[in-house]
Amino acid sequence: MKLKSNILVCALLAALMLPASLLAADATEYKLELAKAKATLRDAESKVQLWSTSEILLEDADKAAASGDYELAVKLATEARLHGELAVATAEREKKHWQKNVPK
């Protein structure tokens, strides 16, 4: 009976730990997110729209990854990617609209 309950507890603990281990960020996930962020920021830069606040996020992400904190590293890289995406969106919108502000 005792053995049965021990097995049950172990199974429960394993079930609880499994998603956490699946969700925890690792070096591979960080590298993927970093590559995406860098590509988006390059795109923003080519459109003369890079923000001054984006690249520093990647520097901080690199430091976090170097210290083994991949969760933070992924979070920062994702934020940098979002910066890039917003900057590109501004570039695309402004390309169509900037002329409207020129006095005629």
């Binding site: 001054s52 690249e55 501004t90 020129v102 006095p103």
Partner: protein, 274 residues
Amino acid sequence: MKRFLTACFLFMLMANVYASPETDRLALREFFAQRFPDLDLNEMINGLYAFDEGAREQWLEMEDFPPYEIAIEEGEEIFNTPFANGKGYADCFENGGIGIKQNYPRFDADSGEVITLEYAINQCRTDNGEEPLPWMTDELAAISAYMAYTSRGNKMSVVIPDDPRALQAYESGKEYYYTRRGQLEFACENCHMQSAGSLLRADRLSGMLGQATHWPVYRSKWGEIGTLHKRFRECNEQVRAKPYDAQSQVYRELEYFLSYMSNGLEMNGPASRR
């Protein structure tokens, strides 16, 4: 007939997309004439002091002992010091470099580039075997200040030659000026046209007209004299856009557009600002 109509249509389309620089300049003057009907537009070379009487009085008092005076003297001394090869800055410029700032930036047909005065100063150095000065140094700003001083009273006369590359450079500068950018999504136009004369916290915003006539500037905030490109960088930082290097192509083209818009206005550099 069909070809003729197509050509006419294309011409009208192009004319609509690319107004000539002169049409732009006149429309800009009209914009400010309507925006500030009681203001003499020639006063806009004085930036925010055209709008703010109290600040203007303080500024005029400061002009009794202008903080940029030392830079003019230093610039004159450097300007007149020969290079190692015996030549000098005067040999690189028309009229010996005196009273010519109103012609800059200019378009160089050989290189296809926009040449600002600071860019030309460094070209002069490298052509004579000297090391170029770093773009953000006091020394470069001082030479520019001296040359600006000798140009006081002349009228801004920037030329966009009949060369598609020059027009493209002008258009790129114009697009930059009117495009929102940075995390705060501000265009130069938002502050210096829409909000010109308004207060931004404790500072009154200058208008676009005349913004290129008075550089370099001694800014109390900087505690030193600096070039227009230093100010471009600061503006970019304020809206959280990544600034470009001073004398980058982007900024030279922006200066080209901005200066052309001030054509006909009196040169009054160097100047002092808060």
